[in-house]
Amino acid sequence: MKRFELISAADVPAAAQARSVTVADAMRTKGGRPATDAVVLKAGGIDLLDLMKEGLLEPGRIVNLRDIPELARISEEPDGTLRIGSMVTLAQLAADPAVRARHAALADAAGRSASPQIRHVATIGGNLLQRPRCWYFRSLHHHCARKGGTTCFAFAGENQHHAIFGHDGCAIVHPSTAATALVAFNASVELFAAKRGTRVVALEKFFLGPSQDLSRENDLKSGEILTAVVLPPARPGMRSAHLRQGELESFDWPIADVAVVIEVEPNGVCRRASVVLGAAAPVPYRAKGAEAALVGKRISEDAARGAAVAAIAGAAPLGKNAYKVPVFEALVRRAILDTARTA
């Protein structure tokens, strides 16, 4: 690993003055070594160190956000909105009583990410901004389109873990499990920049598919700091469930990940539904067909089955990942039925 300077930011404005660039910008090259003078921000450092060890990222200076206490808190506003600081760890999020009580799918998603060791260091901000795990993207020897090259090696190559939806020029799947649940809860992110101050963007809009931008997964601008995730208050009759399936049950990336949030009337009829698939597309994939199929129905085996079929409509598997289609179908159906068992 190349030598770098590590400095600690005392507060958010100080960090915002650091002239940082996004990790995506610091990694993009025309071939050869990445820029060696870039300034990047560090949260938990899990992904950053991975990228640096592989030689994919060689920053000159790293600005550490770990000493900014206000970023590591979860606070509740009077209307019940939860403001989750970006440096809150996944373990903290999974254990938070308010999250567990009202947003069970999120607590589950955070609590089943990675491994216990990683969850105690990895932050929700870093988790949302981490780079994809595609093995071509992570290989120094494959200069793929996402890193500034011209090819997506996955299309004709080994794509068993790649996208079945929305792979328009690049077949990564979004790596964040927490994002699957957060999008289902219509969460937003707060982004701070030195001159402009804070902007708030719906998470679903924040993530960018390859047709919007092939070389980054989100709309973070250089100089911006993701300071918080904003979780709207729980609504009457809201229930949620999250299911995640890896090849391994311990410490593995999911092959399919599903979050379902529904709101039911007192008479049991579904008023609103969010069905979001993770590990399915380059961004968390909202299964609109499944959502439409649920609204106006009671949650039943039949309704869940119909929604699950609708969820996988339009799937376009690549050469080696067709198996993900029936796995998603099963998980969507099961997650919908699981909402009946949770509050």
């Binding site: 071509y136 873990h161 399936q245 090849e247």
Partner: protein
């Protein structure tokens, strides 16, 4: 105890307690007297705690990666990024100029790969690299960072050549050729003897039909029932937690190598030969080891590189492979495709086994499927045709029961299918065709522990999660290395030490040696100082082939016995007794009638010299070996092993979970049941992982391994661990001073086929390939979306 010849002696024989009897053996002079069955012994056969357990859990144990010498340099290797290329030029001048760099050398070592004879009429070509990760140069520098940076300054120009990394593509006429000329051997040979005179066409070398017997075609014609199937197994990598590691220290007076190795004495002779040194000038040392599984059997190219760099830099050089290098270039278990036909009469009697197999060990030989189908069952007609297919991928090496793991996976599923066709219970069929008495008892005892009688018809469960049970058997030779020696010394203060170059690969041989010596001397195991893993001591056996315990415990006992005889001679006058009448028991040396005694320490004070000792080496098995070639031998009776598996298959997601394994195993006289259980757990876990998760994935367009890490290379972890129960037989045979054999490999052979048979019992569909991932299971169940490609 001290009774001398006659040499015709009676030994316990048979399975305890089911069939324990006696056998008479003619044994050489100087052998320790017959040992009673374990129940009557103080230390042998007891679950004595590991002597280095505390050091390991507290971090005090010294692994090779912990070795630090004054002035030690750090080495890194430059490796080919191309799967096949001509190395047009190599310029190390910039690397040498980098601050801190003390040596930079081209590395042209190619041990471990097939040896090629130059094609006729072609001039000797420039160096070709044959796979991604092929070593081309090495640098040694004052810091790891400087070495890493210097690697970037190695200027290697490659002319890429056509390559092939896909097993099927490589077999086609006109496929890019891995080797220009004929291959005349080389590589590891445990999977299949690299016999001379085998045909070669393109990348395919074979078929090798040796081992065939009878007339399989006629046998199949005589059969009432024939089953056939094609089975595919993947490439598995060893994934040693301690990656391959060495510290080489070249000095004017000799070479010392600290190395994570399974065979200190073998590495010593390999390096002596490679560097033109006498054996006496090379010393190889290993203390604690973080796994080898066959991949650390020899010195390999990286150790040669480290030694060359140390010689060049005149300083100790540390070279530790990183996780990626470990996957690319430290060996693997070859992939196979096995086509099997098995014929039987209505009563189950086998009339023929025909096995046609090819596989790839990358750029080396050894993709055969061992002697499993050839040896396990009674069958007069056996036909085998095995071929090696070369591809541009890192060379395979021996890996825990090489060949037989793959072979058992296919044949044991075929036998399961045959039992169903014959409407026989799989155990009953094996009672019919399996000549092994020990496996018969393992089937009985294992089935009882497991609850085999609860087995239901295939696909019985109605919900999405279907449970099933299955079983499979193991075949592995009871191997012995006769070039296995140790010394036992008794010192004047009553302390005792055992010395041998035998290494503890992690299985706990040191603890077993302490038990053996303690048993013989009437002391406690913790009173025996175990000094092993150093070629300054008498040369011990390798730790491969599951032969360490079988090879080194008999000489340990005999050496202790002979040293004790010298102690008896020294103390006899003080006890006013004949030396032959003395016994060593509970820390004392006593007359046979126990009338007079002294403590062991008091006895030792009578020694005329600072210490007495005896060196012993492995005698031939009493009654002879079944097979012997050079230092390697096998007992007349092979080892057994029968495993039972319970699985739950989610037919909607394709997820298979192994819930329970019962492993009924034998290893002659069990020396330390807890350590044996630990081996069995390891073997079973490795088998679960092989059956469900592990697979090296090569990119067919670029030749790179895409999962050369522990993130995408999936291995069973804590939540994938089933309940594992061991049923351990005591199988006495009266073949050596300890009657002990190995367990490491036999415990790894039956697991994957037992799981595969359980999956069949759960879902009613037979799965013909490994690993059984969701993709494989869903495809077998016909649940893939229409029109999609098969995995």
């Amino acid at each position: 105890m001290a009774r001398e010849d006659p040499q015709l002696r009676k030994y316990p024989s048979g399975i305890d307690p089911a069939a324990l009897g006696e056998v008479e053996r003619n044994v050489p002079a100087g052998e320790a007297p017959p040992l009673a069955p374990n129940a009557d012994l103080a230390w042998i056969g007891k679950s004595v705690a590991r002597i280095n357990g505390r050091a390991k859990v507290t971090g005090a144990a010294r692994f090779t990666v912990d070795v630090k010498l004054p002035g030690m340099l750090h080495a890194r290797l430059a490796r080919s990024p191309y799967p096949h290329a001509r190395l047009a030029s190599l310029d190390l001048s910039m690397a040498r100029l980098h601050p801190g760099v003390r040596a930079a050398l081209p590395i042209n070592e190619t041990v471990g790969r097939a040896v090629e004879t130059a094609a006729e009429g072609k001039p000797p070509s420039t160096r070709r690299v044959l796979y991604v990760g092929d070593i081309v140069a090495g640098v040694a520098a004052a810091t790891p960072e400087a070495a890493q940076e210097a690697l970037r300054l190695v200027r290697a120009e490659y002319e890429p050549l056509p390559f092939v990394t896909d097993l099927e593509t490589a077999r086609v006429d006109g496929a890019p050729q891995v080797f220009d000329g004929r291959v005349r051997g080389g590589g590891f040979t445990d999977g299949m003897a690299a016999a001379a005179g085998i045909a070669q066409r393109g990348n395919v070398r074979g078929p090798n039909t040796s081992g065939s017997r009878g007339d399989a075609i006629a046998g199949l014609a005589q059969a009432d029932v024939v089953v056939e199937g094609e089975f595919r197994t993947q490439v598995q990598t060893h994934c040693c937690l301690e990656t391959h590691a060495v510290v080489a220290d070249w000095r004017a007076d000799g070479l010392t190598v600290y190395m994570s190795t399974q065979y200190t004495a073998g590495v010593r002779s390999e390096l002596a030969h490679a560097f033109g040194l006498p054996l006496s000038a090379v010393r190889v040392v290993v203390d604690a080891m973080g796994g080898g599984f066959g991949s650390k059997s020899g010195a390999g190219n990286y150790v040669r590189a480290a030694v060359a760099l140390s010689r060049e830099a005149r300083a100790p050089v540390r070279l530790v492979l990183d996780r990626r290098e470990e996957h690319l270039d430290s060996g693997n278990r070859p992939a196979t495709v096995q086509r099997l036909r098995v014929g039987a009469r209505r009563d189950g009697t086998l009339t023929a086994i025909a096995l046609d197999t090819y596989g790839t060990a990358g750029v080396t030989l050894g993709a055969g499927v061992g002697n499993f189908a050839q040896s396990i069952y009674d069958c007069a007609n056996f036909a085998i045709a095995q071929s090696d297919v070369f591809i541009n991928a890192g060379p395979a090496s021996a890996m825990r029961a090489p060949g037989n793991v793959q072979g058992a996976y296919a044949l044991e599923q075929m036998i399961d299918e045959l039992a169903e066709k014959l409407s026989m219970d799989p155990l009953a069929l094996r009672d019919r065709i399996d000549p092994s008495a020990v496996r018969r008892e393992e089937r009985r005892a294992g089935a009882e522990r497991f609850g085999w009688s609860r087995r239901r018809a295939p696909g019985f469960d109605s919900g999405p999660v279907k449970r099933g049970i299955g079983m499979a058997q193991s075949y592995w030779g009871a191997n012995v290395h006769t070039n296995a020696s140790c010394e036992v010394r008794i010192l004047r203060d009553g302390s005792v030490e055992l010395l041998s170059s035998v290494q503890d690969i992690g299985t706990g041989i040191g603890t077993v040696l302490a038990q053996v010596v303690a048993e013989e001397l009437g002391l406690r195991p913790e009173e025996i100082a175990i000094r092993i893993g150093d070629t300054d001591f008498p040369a011990g056996p390798p730790s491969y082939g599951s032969l360490t315990t079988a090879s080194i415990t008999p000489p340990a006992r005999n050496a202790a016995h002979r040293a004790l005889r010298k102690l008896f001679d020294a103390v006899a006058p003080a006890l006013d007794a004949a030396p032959e009448s003395l016994v060593a028991r509970a820390g004392r040396i006593a007359t046979a009638d126990n009338a007079r005694s002294v403590s062991f320490r008091e006895a030792a004070a009578h020694l005329r010299t600072e210490s007495i000792g005896a060196v012993a080496s492995r005698s031939d098995d009493y009654g002879g070996f079944g097979r012997k070639m050079g230092d390697m031998a096998s007992a007349k009776s092979a080892l057994g092993g029968v495993q039972f598996a319970q699985v739950a298959v989610d037919v909607e997601t394709g997820i298979v979970r192994v819930e329970r394994i019962v492993a009924a195993q034998d290893c002659g006289r069990p020396m330390n049941p807890r350590q044996i259980e630990s081996q069995v757990h390891g073997g079973v876990l490795m088998g679960v992982s092989y059956a469900l998760y592990e697979e090296r994935i090569l990119d067919r367009h670029t030749g790179h391994v895409l999962n050369a890490d522990l993130e995408h290379y999936k291995i069973a972890r804590s939540r994938e661990t089933p309940e594992i129960e061991m049923v351990l037989l005591e199988n006495y045979q009266g073949t050596s001073a300890t009657d002990a054999y190995g367990i490491a490999e036999p415990s790894n052979i039956a697991t994957a086929p037992a799981i595969a048979n359980a999956v069949y019992n759960a879902i009613g569909v037979r799965v013909h390939r490994l690993p059984m991932t969701p993709s494989t299971i869903l495809a077998a169940l016909g649940r893939m979306p229409a029109g999609s490609a098969l995995p």
